[in-house]
Symmetry: C2
Subunit: 341 residues, 2 copies
DNA sequence: TTGAAAGCGATACCAA
DNA sequence: TTGGTATCGCTTTCAA
């Protein structure tokens, strides 16, 4: 099965004219007579003609397609970023090829090469949590392929990026926990090669300092984002002599899993232990207690990434000035941190 | 910014031969001498040559791209289907363009036309909940563009589909509720123009019959999948003289929202009211109580949809035999239906 | 065994 | 105002 599309030639033959004329008439070129334009346009609409975008791509050496690599499609935060990307791209006449790395460096390299062979005009990427060596992206960047980082980035590659203000978000989270009376605030951190993780940790540490809360290194545990590691991390915190009275988790997955364990141990949230997570999903309202959350503007991140892509595409390599956009977060206070102080 | 790729011409020039020879050598054509093949292959690898897929597409009149329309990207079920589609497509050398209808018929028609202009080789679609008139898809099908329905379908279009056994899934859900002692089982149904919704309702009704439970029409309420309607539906059920002792919800969103309201009214789940939903997401474990669920094989659905696409693509129109694949569901029993009977 | 050339569909330059 | 033609990169037929 397949289906042949109408071409300029078909229309030209039908009207006893040339493809050149038809092409120009459809583009409303000034040199074509109104009469001819009318005839052509009318027939084109009637026959439902649409230019073959593949032919145009070949001629223009542009695919009008943006490649996107996310760590995980089935992850609320990324799927909302994807919605933002898709909408922005489509309304600019671009298509989007989405791929996922499944948080694996190897897969990231593979899908990148698949994307390149389909001739994308640029790449938007949130690198996998495993990625510490960015050669594959550097090569791309050096070959002057537009490259935009979103959510996660590599500081060494001087290209445009959209990130959220992780530092300030974490700071706000800790500040909030202190304001409801928590004194022993723990942090379940994410993989430390992720810039976000580092930033959230810094925000956490600096907030403690600013609030004159003593920093206890045992209150900082690091998870690799697997279920098992959340269990280890949480258990370690709960087995301390001086148990924390609040946990600030790197992301919602860590928060959800950790809360399950805490509740399982018979501890009350928020009164025994308050919780704050970084998240972006409706689910924070459905769990019990609902989760106080640092909200990230996921949809906007997607839109901005596309804008940065176009800026880079339309600049010439010599005077390309990379832009870094830092989006603000918003603290949404829910039941998991509403304590009687 | 843009980036010029290596072409056959470049290689041919470098080796003082013709593009035809290079092309054939790379394809391991029998007429080319081993010596020449070796020279060409070596240079191609060295220079990291990759054929321009756009040129191939133009020549072959194939885009090697599948269009996919889902109602919502940021919806766990669909994003897992998307993962299945993406993996299956990529490993077959195909790309995927994902679009979403946001459950709007108008948007569905729009993105479909965008997809068509980017010359897709076929379409996989789960129509929006608003779509009752399928002309846009019929046209496609009549023009012999491969068309596959997944999750949702239109019975009138005789093309291949992958669906889940909604009827049996619903039957199992009700049977389970009865087995834990529920006698007054209510159903919050979805929009009745969705085939899944109809099937789940039938399954519910037939299960009641099979179990000799009296069917009470007031126990069937229909939601349009908005928050407000869930509230209305749930409240109506709770205000009845003979309150239901179980609610079977069309999907997880309805279940989650309805559970919130039930808990809010001070009723205990599962002892006052047990719950079963249709879902496909990790969140069923995080809510309280965890939700008993009819699990749908989302990932597999995506894979199968791609297989059906290839079957259709490789058949010729005359003897094309549409296939309908019905995937089985699995009942996952969690706390929301674990009652002491 | 290799090369020249036509053709996929659209655009744009140069002629007429 | 219109038409002929080269071009994008690749494949494939025909000729050498």
């Amino acid at each position: 099965m397949s289906y042949r599309q109408l071409t300029l030639k078909d229309i030209a033959k039908e009207l006893n004219t040339s493809v050149a004329t038809v092409s120009r008439a459809l583009k409303n070129h000034p040199s074509i007579s109104d009469q001819m334009k009318k005839k052509v346009m009318q027939l084109a609409t009637e026959l439902n003609y649409h230019p073959n975008s593949i032919a145009v791509s070949l001629l223009k050496n542009r695919s009008y397609t943006i490649g996107v690599i996310v760590p995980e499609i089935a992850h609320n935060f990324y799927s909302i970023v994807m919605e933002g990307i898709e909408n922005a791209a489509i309304s600019a006449g671009y298509n989007v090829l989405f791929c996922m790395s499944k948080e694996s460096k190897e897969r990231e390299v593979n899908v990148l090469s698949t994307l390149l062979h389909s001739r994308i005009d640029g790449l938007l990427i949130a690198p996998s949590k495993e990625t510490t060596d960015y050669k594959h992206l550097e090569t791309l960047f050096n070959r002057e392929m537009p490259l935009i980082f979103f959510d996660r980035h590599c500081a060494e590659i001087p290209t445009s990026k959209v990130l959220v203000d992780d530092y300030k978000g974490a700071f706000k989270a800790v500040d909030h926990l202190a304001s409801v009376g928590c004194k022993r605030i723990a942090h379940i951190a994410g993989p430390q090669n992720l810039s976000n993780s580092q930033q959230r940790l810094s925000g956490y540490i600096d907030a403690l300092k600013a609030l004159n809360l003593k920093q206890n290194d045992n209150y900082i545990v690091t998870s690799d984002l697997t279920k098992e590691s959340v269990r280890t991390c949480t258990t370690r915190l709960l087995e301390m002599n001086e148990k924390p009275d609040a946990i600030f988790a790197y992301n919602s997955f860590l928060a959800f899993e950790s809360m399950l364990i805490v509740k399982d141990k018979g501890l009350k949230i928020p009164d025994d232990i308050a919780f704050v997570g970084f998240a972006n999903e409706p689910m924070i309202s459905y769990i019990e207690p609902s989760l106080t959350t640092v909200l990230q503007p996921a949809y906007r991140m997607g839109q901005e990434a596309v804008k940065l892509f176009f800026n880079q595409l339309n600049s010439n390599a010599k005077k390309f000035a990379p832009e870094t956009l830092i989006l603000e977060t918003k603290l949404l206070v829910k039941a998991s941190s509403r304590r009687k102080t």
